[in-house]
Symmetry: C2
């Protein structure tokens, strides 16, 4: 792997490369040129070559990429083979939606537990995932080193729960609470899921413009 | 508003500008320089000036931006004052999480109805939002022109539901199903929410690198 800083924009495109290559692989495509891959992803061929050059040498001049091996190399770069684990904090509607419908394992994560305060579900399991009391969180983390905490708790307890996750040694927090956690330089990465940003971009795109063609 | 095509990257930053300016306004900041705004958002001052120049003249040389008026102008650009409406398709866990917790109104949308197949909830309302049978969708859209359909149905019916939304005249689909709808050039904008891309970026960021310093 090459030295040097990888820009946030490139990091954001890596999962899209992975998804696109995996789709191509699933439908039987063996080989693809950077220009064809670019076309499918709305990027230029040179953008793709430049992005991938951050991580080493891929493909052969004039011969394109082997879809399966490039997909696998990007999976490796993304850390999908690291055995990452995740726990869900808050098994309300959103937490449950993720437990039932989000394919953690397809993204290289093992979902090991959920935590909630509701006595009606604590001690049971949801879709095979055991639900513990939030009071057991610190003890659980001490015994089960965990990569990522998925934060789907109510906003009022978002920050305190995040602090317990950090004290318990998680490496990342996947934050759905729309609370700015303000965590920096503690060796913990916070990935915020901002539904609002997505809806506002859609709002922009469906709003008629008088003198402008904004689309694409 | 200036003519010319606004890049996707700029469109994606607009909601972040809005959010940042609104936070500043809430805590009483009246005026901010492009460099201070940039610092708060991890962008350069010239990037911010360039982004905003797509939409006209803002701020005064050497004097910065008025926080409230820039926020309001960006809200206008984002279409937050257009009276957009939204309906939710599929009131399962994710649909319910959005009904209960997502602030549609704060983002310029009025959530007018939800649709589901479950007889236990059809005819009732969730957090004040009426739940109709999915069989009533076409009739509803005919009588209630709707800006955006929020697609939280099971994957198996994602495409057919999207087609009914398009036939019913929606302008945008906020797609949470992780199904590529493949809708183009029908005058309908699809905004995909890809949870996986977000988790994979987090996976990348928490994965140790041997010879690289990727972090910000």
């Amino acid at each position: 792997m090459k030295k040097g800083k990888v820009s946030n924009a490139v990091i954001r495109r890596l999962p899209r490369y992975y998804g696109q290559l995996d789709s191509l692989y699933q439908v039987g495509v063996v080989r693809i040129s950077s220009s064809a891959l670019g076309k499918a992803m709305n990027l230029t061929a040179s953008q793709i070559r430049q992005d991938l050059s951050c991580f080493g040498e891929f493909g052969q001049q004039g011969y394109g990429y082997n879809v399966e091996s490039l997909r696998d190399e990007i999976a490796e770069i993304l850390g999908m083979n690291q055995g990452h684990t995740a726990i869900i904090l808050g098994a309300g509607n959103l937490g449950r939606a993720l437990i039932h419908n989000f394919q953690f394992s397809q993204n290289g994560f093992r979902l090991t537990a959920a935590f909630d305060t509701d006595p009606a579900i604590v001690g049971k399991s949801i879709a095979g995932v055991p639900v513990y009391s939030i009071d057991q969180l610190d003890e659980y983390l001490a015994g089960h080193p965990t990569s990522v905490g998925v934060l789907t708790v109510p906003q009022t307890v978002a920050l305190t729960t995040a602090q317990r996750l950090i004290a318990g040694g998680v490496k990342g927090i996947w934050n759905f609470t729309n609370i700015e956690l303000g965590i920096r330089d503690e060796g913990v990465v916070v990935e915020n899921v901002h539904f609002a940003d997505s809806l506002l971009a859609l709002s922009y795109l469906i709003t008629p413009r008088s003198s402008e063609n904004s689309e694409e």
